[in-house]
């Protein structure tokens, strides 16, 4: 099972590099021109991230540098361990459903401090991709059509987020290469 998932991880992206241009070319798409037009947005996307990264990096840097992080870790370490969650990823879990950009900043901070190939780096990366920005999506989608009573949507969304986090913890524990 682990080998299959590992192979899927290794093959997913290269296969897309192969299949997408092939299918596009056969269908008469101007592949090179389309690529250039899409790539143009890359710069804007990265630059748009800067204010979010600065805000999160500054706040998290201060929180760690002041010793507040150690204090919080000591406070929540026991219950977090009991749940099998390293306390270092709790801020990411808290922010994930609220803001996609802020969560990306949190993850980036985590990768920078602990390293992308560490256990925490893997877990953080998995948490980021495990679910989407629940509260943002609910407010934008319902807001766009004037629905004021979302019924059980909020609860279902939160349950999904929690299950995603649990899945991230389990999958990382199972598949993290030692």
């Amino acid at each position: 099972m682990a080998e299959v998932i590992d192979a899927a991880s290794r093959w997913a992206m290269p296969l897309m590099f192969f299949l997408i241009p092939l299918v596009a070319y056969l269908r008469g798409v101007k592949v090179y021109e389309a690529f250039i037009e899409g790539a143009e947005q890359g710069f804007a996307t990265a630059v748009r991230m800067i204010p979010f990264l600065v805000a999160i990096f500054a706040a998290m840097g201060m929180f760690r540098g002041s010793g507040a992080m150690d204090l919080l870790m000591r406070l929540v370490a026991a219950p977090a361990r009991w749940l099998g969650v390293p306390p270092e990823v709790l801020p990411l879990m808290l922010v994930r459903p609220l803001s996609g950009s802020a969560a990306l900043g949190m993850l980036s901070d985590l990768l920078r401090v602990y390293g992308p190939d560490s256990y925490l780096g893997w877990l953080g990366s998995t948490i980021q991709g495990s679910t989407d920005t629940t509260f943002y999506i609910l407010s934008v989608y319902y807001g766009s059509v004037g629905v004021r009573n979302p019924r059980h949507s909020v609860l279902a969304g939160i349950i999904g987020d929690l299950a995603g986090f649990a899945g991230a913890v389990l999958a990382t524990r199972l598949l993290f290469p030692h």
Binding site: G61, S66, A102
Partner: protein, 199 residues
């Protein structure tokens, strides 16, 4: 909410550093951290541009349409109250396919179009229908085949195996979607019966 969290982080940092007698620690920490914020963003540009270029090719090759055709049976199963072949079904299919490919910017306009179409089938416009709740349960827990942004961020941070997390992410996101859709089904009865767009 982000306002509260961010303010909390900064204020507590000040209080703790002041109490422990080395208040300048937060200044140093803030200044070193923000420098790497810009460095991260810049090393992110190349990979992001490459991925977005490839995705533009995928979009023009009609890969979203291809995927939507394959997903139709799933949508029939999840949205029995939405008649087949309606604009609502089409927009939902395009939205879900774009999300599956990790094309967030393409998914949103399709998603908003789907909401507009679902609202036309809604007998009580202020209240969400069953179909809307299910659609958003799927959207908020988004299954993505390739978490491109995370991969790019890992590569930008010097990972030796940036795509290693594709498998773990797929497992986690399947968990979240199954849980959200199941919760939606189980909770549906409580918010008022029969609020479907079936009439």
């Amino acid at each position: 909410m982000m306002n509260t969290i961010w303010t909390f982080l900064v204020l507590v940092s000040f209080l703790v550093s002041a109490a422990s007698g080395h208040v300048s620690a937060i200044t140093d920490a803030a200044f070193t951290s923000v420098k790497s914020a810009v460095e991260t963003a810049f090393s992110f540009i190349g990979i992001m541009a490459f991925w977005l270029g490839l995705m533009e090719v995928a979009q023009r090759a009609g890969l979203i349409d291809l995927l939507s055709r394959g997903m139709r049976p799933v949508v029939r199963l999840l949205f029995p109250s939405i008649p087949a072949g309606t604009p609502a079904e089409g927009a939902m299919l395009l939205n879900m396919s774009a999300n599956l490919l990790g094309l967030g910017s393409a998914a949103t306009p399709f998603g908003l179009k789907a909401m507009e179409e679902l609202q036309k089938l809604n007998p009580d416009p202020a209240t969400a229908t069953d179909a809307m709740c299910t659609f958003l349960a799927i959207n908020t827990s988004a299954i993505t085949l390739i978490p491109a942004t995370v991969i790019a961020l890992r590569a930008a941070n010097g990972s030796s195996n940036p795509t290693g997390i594709v498998g773990t992410t797929l497992i986690a996101t399947v968990c979240s979607t199954v849980a959200a859709v199941t919760a939606d089904r189980l909770l549906r009865g409580r918010g008022g019966h029969g609020r479907g767009g079936s009439h």
